[in-house]
Symmetry: C2
Subunit: 198 residues, 2 copies
């Protein structure tokens, strides 16, 4: 399979790249400032350019999603836009634009997170934009044509990102193996419109 990984330089992206390359999938690494293709997901033009460079593909994985993290008192219309432009519209535009470039029976797998339903202090922006992406995934699944599927993977805090553990009291970290299996279900399975809790 030819798989575009957006956010390939991150903790999850690197892990998935290594695993999938070992299985001889062709991975196109797309990052903001490194990898095979540079992409700024906050810009629809940059996303369009990425797909033109990448050519037809079988699957897209996104592990990219900037959001505003910080004290509630700093949350405003302006700071809220970090997550809207990033994790929300960044990922939604990957699908709205990418559907013109993906092969029939291809799949999109986006990233959300437990914060949708399990809020934590400082992360209201992520709770909202995760919820948006999850609503979009369910709706896109009934609209996408040519057998194209779409799912989201929704981990808790990631095992390999211990720097975040203290922000997620009570959340059992998602192991890298669980995360991998979540993405496998979307990539190689038949499900669509699902929020996969790995």
């Amino acid at each position: 399979m030819k798989i575009i990984i957006v956010g390939a330089s991150g903790t999850m992206g690197q892990y998935l790249t290594t695993i999938l390359e070992k299985e001889n999938h062709k991975i196109i690494k797309a990052n903001r400032s490194s990898g095979d293709i540079q992409v700024d997901i906050t810009s629809p033009e940059s996303i369009e350019k990425m797909f033109k460079q990448a050519g037809k593909f079988d699957a897209l994985i996104s592990t990219a999603g900037p959001t505003f993290v910080g004290p509630w008192k700093n949350l405003s219309d302006q700071t809220f836009r970090t997550g809207i432009q990033g994790k929300m519209m960044g990922q939604i535009n990957l699908v709205l634009i990418g559907q013109q470039y993906i092969l029939p029976k291809g799949s999109f797998t986006l990233i959300t997170g437990a914060l949708t339903h399990e809020p934590q202090r400082y992360f209201a922006n992520a709770s909202a934009v995760n919820g948006a992406v999850e609503g979009f995934v369910r709706a896109a699944a009934i609209e996408l044509e040519n057998g194209i599927r779409i799912n989201a993977v929704s981990p808790t805090v990631i095992e390999d990102s211990p720097q975040y553990f203290s922000h997620f009291p009570g959340e059992i970290p998602t192991t890298m193996k669980q995360l991998e299996f979540g993405f496998r279900k979307s990539l190689f399975g038949t499900v669509t419109g699902q929020i996969i809790i790995p």
Copy 2:
């Protein structure tokens, strides 16, 4: 109670206004172009102005939420913004700004809808922005101070809006009475962070 109803001229808003005025609550009707105060919820400045005019209040109900409704092929970064500016950030800004004006132990009640989990053709924008508002409600509930509560009411298609029935095959319409009870639970109950399915 002094209650601001944003979207008081709509089907839900009118119904709730009539019911609550009969019970001697003071209702401030806020609409785009009529009512006691005019407000454009897509503008944070207009929202701020509304709260300054209204003065301290006990509860805010929002039944307002423009979204893009139309064929999937017309869904783009640009058309998606209708719901982001309207039903999503419009309602989120009512809370982020309104928290400075609401009385201690006050409540915010926003509107989402079954589309969050039950998508229908043409309504992907609403599914996404409903999901965003619901994620926000759960997160805001753990952040708001002074005993201020926040919930969302999530109806299916509204009994008194039969013009939409054909777009919601399989959805049993929410009666006006059920809707009223959903809002009552948030207004007069003690729950917070809930998505109330009336």
